[in-house]
């Protein structure tokens, strides 16, 4: 066996495998994906009246007005920047995390007219791993219902029905945790998502 022969084999085999694993394979997946699941394969986009995208139902967005359900805090860029996904990466003993959560708890209680002893849902004041989490917990959504209903002059019972419709349950009733998709929910309230 000579080293040169082995290097030659390495180069040839690398080339063949590159063509198959990095050329043929992704193209077959591309073709089949675009054929069978075009909506998902292109980013689960929601299109506006002009046919241009206004959201992806999978990616959270920032909403701050009273008439919208607020998403979770986001550490992605300046908030929900999907070119810069990620978490805060603060450890449990981080002073910065402590200060941020303290502020968010106060803000959350104030915005939703809650008492100073009302426990705040963890997802409402802790940032997600991706910074793009489209969901909030059901508990969190229900605490926001009175505020949003008032801002929209809506009946709370009607609003809760829409919240329920925009809730993703456990897959097969077992897997994962249920969550309210706030992108679907807020756009449904605006009439831009059906």
């Amino acid at each position: 066996m000579s080293i040169i022969k082995e290097v030659r084999i390495s180069a040839v085999v690398t080339l063949i495998l590159l063509v198959i694993c990095c050329g043929l394979y992704p193209l077959v997946v591309l073709g089949a994906g675009q054929l069978f699941f075009p909506h998902q394969a292109n980013g689960s986009l929601v299109l506006g009246a002009d046919g241009k995208p206004i959201a992806s139902t999978l990616l959270g967005q920032a909403f701050t007005a009273d008439k919208y359900f607020a998403p979770r805090p986001s550490a992605a860029g300046t908030g929900y920047d999907s070119t810069s996904s990620g978490g805060s990466n603060y450890g449990a003993t981080s002073q910065a995390l402590h200060d941020a959560v303290k502020q968010r708890v106060a803000d959350y209680r104030k915005a939703n007219h809650l008492s100073d002893t009302q426990l705040v849902p963890a997802d409402a004041v802790m940032a997600s791993g991706s910074g793009l989490d489209p969901h909030i917990s059901i508990k969190n959504a229900l605490l926001q219902v009175p505020r949003v209903a008032a801002a929209r002059s809506m009946n709370e019972a009607d609003l809760k029905k829409i919240v329920a419709r925009c809730t993703d349950g456990r897959d097969f009733g077992i897997l994962g945790d249920p969550g309210v998709n706030i992108v679907k929910l807020n756009l449904t309230l605006d009439g831009t998502y059906k």
Partner: protein, 605 residues
């Protein structure tokens, strides 16, 4: 049902599914790892396989001595690493920019390219960059995805050579590397990835070649950003604080690209390198709890099947299942610790009025919740995968200790594809050696005498693991460049460094991701950590394979130590835990353990 009941139910489902696929996939592996094996894909793939051999000038019937096998493997890894390095450096000047690099990303720096090429070649997939803001489609699809296939196939090939060494006697050879590489890629990885990728798309994962989309926001946001001068440097005021200015954000740039094809092999090959910075926490990379479940299953699928394959190859199915049981018990122990502490949460934050019933949700996604985040973290570090669906940096101290300790055990709990099995077999050799010492007999393993050469090589593997992790961590701790990268202060800062070098040595790739590693010193030391952790372990393991293959069989006698059954399983678990604890408990005490007590006394940094 309570959420804890759902956690138990999902764990039970996961274990049942894993158990269910182990034997069928193991039986399939028998065919794949035999040059004369037959599979139902033969009509399609046999001609391509034969053509590959012909073009490469490979004689598939000719087996290699362990040294030849190792040299072929090392040369192949070197050639492919150079290809990856070159593509990353040149990504901005390669042809078809508008198709393959629509965002116009620049070429990577020399140290980032070196780090990333080493990272993907060694099956580590440590990422010092954010994919969606750094990598062109071509780099993702060719430079990185290729290594996801190659490094996985190389890992399985080494395990195959070692098991052949154990199964054979008076033999010169341990198989042919090129045949193993080609057959594993064609018959095992590609077909499963094809189906897996389509499943992932159905759940919401993207697969396209269009440029990034710009979504017009329903509600424009005003945010504060640091002011920069004409050359892009942040402007500071007289006190040295950055000056902030208001900026209106009216669009969300939605990343696109060929994600699903790469993510399938990322999980199945226990690579773990994310397409995006947030990895499997990103809603595109892990859209639903169902996709999460199947991704977790795909991490353990091949490593679990390999234990069955081991049992069949050495004609002792009980041995394979005993190894499987040791792995499963270690996996469960880790998961329960992690799940418990993440459920209890962070007392510093619950004191502020956060609902303690919700657990520690910092860095976790609502759709996965506490149980699935703890489960994924345990699985990804038991194996050498390193994909994450929650940020380990933000776990509670002891919840985060579990992934860290899993890596430091050598990732032998199912482990990486191939790497988990060959790592565990090193512990098996140490375990039978210890058992032999206890009863005062020459240790035997499946009819082979275990002698000083095998024990020396096994100890070399374990020493490289400890030296590589602790040596580099110690260096970073006392260096300005080491401390400059920290995102957290106090003991958690130390944990960030310890995790980084544990992760690269174990070829895991997950991180306490607050660490800013994209610097000259971090990239370079991490890259060497990975290369040492991969190749300095492969060589002694291949030497063991060669040595065992050449040995004569000694008939089993009344003094032979049985390597199947509960006694062996617990001896193996004890050996793994003992070696891990002796090596790493002092370092863990300085990091997560002390942080745990500080957290409960309310101390922050």
């Amino acid at each position: 049902m309570t959420s804890s009941a759902f956690g138990w139910l999902q764990l039970a489902l996961y274990l049942a599914a894993l158990l269910l696929i182990t034997k069928p996939l193991g039986l399939y592996l028998i065919q794949v790892l035999d040059v004369r094996g037959r599979t139902w894909l033969d009509p399609l793939l046999r001609p391509i396989e034969r053509l590959t051999y012909r073009l490469g000038g490979i004689d598939p019937e000719k087996e290699q001595h362990w040294k030849q096998y190792t040299i072929s493997l090392l040369l192949f890894s070197m050639v492919t690493m150079l290809v990856t390095y070159a593509i990353l450096r040149l990504q901005a000047v390669l042809p078809f920019q508008h198709l393959f690099n629509p965002q116009g990303f620049a070429g990577l720096s020399d140290h980032l390219s070196f780090d990333t090429a080493a990272s993907f070649t060694t099956n580590t997939d440590w990422q010092s960059y954010g994919g969606e803001s750094t990598m062109s489609y071509f780099s993702q699809m060719v430079a990185l995805a290729s290594q996801n296939f190659f490094s996985a196939a190389v890992g399985i090939a080494i395990a195959a050579a070692l098991v052949r060494g154990i199964a054979r006697h008076c033999a010169e050879t341990v198989g042919n590397f090129w045949v193993d590489l080609v057959r594993i890629t064609y018959y095992l990885l590609l077909p499963f990835c094809l189906v897996f990728a389509l499943f992932l798309i159905s759940q919401g994962m993207i697969q396209n070649f269009k440029g990034y989309d710009a979504a017009a926001l329903t509600e424009k946001q005003t945010v504060q950003v640091p002011k920069t001068d004409a050359s892009g440097n942040p402007v500071k005021d007289a006190q040295g604080n950055p000056v902030m200015v208001s900026q209106v954000v009216d669009t969300q740039t939605i990343p696109q690209g060929p994600m699903a094809s790469q993510m399938a092999i990322k999980m199945l090959g226990t690579n773990g390198g994310g397409y995006t910075n947030a990895n499997a926490a990103h809603p595109f990379e892990n859209p639903t709890p169902f996709s999460n479940f199947i991704q977790m299953l795909s991490i353990f699928a091949i490593p679990s099947a390999l234990t069955y394959w081991l049992g069949r190859m050495v004609k002792s199915p009980g041995h394979g299942w005993s190894v499987w049981a040791a792995m499963a018990l270690l996996f469960l122990a880790g998961f329960f610790v992690c799940w418990h502490y993440e459920t209890v949460g962070n007392p510093i934050l619950t004191q502020l009025g956060v609902d303690p019933a919700d657990g520690n949700m910092e860095g976790k996604e609502v759709r996965f919740g506490i149980a699935n985040s703890a489960l994924f973290a345990t699985i990804t570090t038991d194996a050498s995968c390193g994909a994450v669906n929650a940020m380990h940096d933000s776990f509670t101290p002891l919840g985060g200790l579990v992934p860290l300790f899993n890596i430091e055990l050598g990732e032998v709990v199912f482990g990486g594809v191939g790497a988990g099995l060959y790592g565990m077999l090193v512990f098996v050799i140490v375990a039978v050696f210890i058992a032999g010492l206890m009863v005062g007999r020459t240790p035997e393993y499946l009819g082979k005498k275990i002698q000083s050469f095998e024990v020396k090589m096994s100890m070399l593997v374990l020493l490289v693991l400890a030296m590589d992790i602790l040596g580099f961590t110690a260096w970073a701790c006392v260096s300005a460049w080491g401390k400059a990268g920290l995102n957290n202060q106090g003991p958690h800062g130390f944990s960030e460094m310890l995790y980084a070098y544990s992760s690269v040595t174990g070829n895991n790739g997950s991180a306490f991701a607050g660490l800013t590693a994209n610097t000259y010193w971090y990239n370079t030391t991490l890259a060497f950590g990975m290369l040492i952790g991969r190749f300095l372990m492969i060589v002694p393991i291949m030497a063991i394979a060669g040595s065992l293959a050449a040995k004569k069989l000694v008939p089993a006698g009344p003094g032979s130590f049985p390597v199947s059954g509960a006694t062996f399983t617990f001896l193996l678990i004890g050996t793994v835990l003992l070696v891990g604890a002796l090596n790493f408990l002092p370092a863990l005490a300085l990091g997560p353990v002390v942080e745990h007590f500080l957290m409960w006394s309310g101390k922050t940094f």
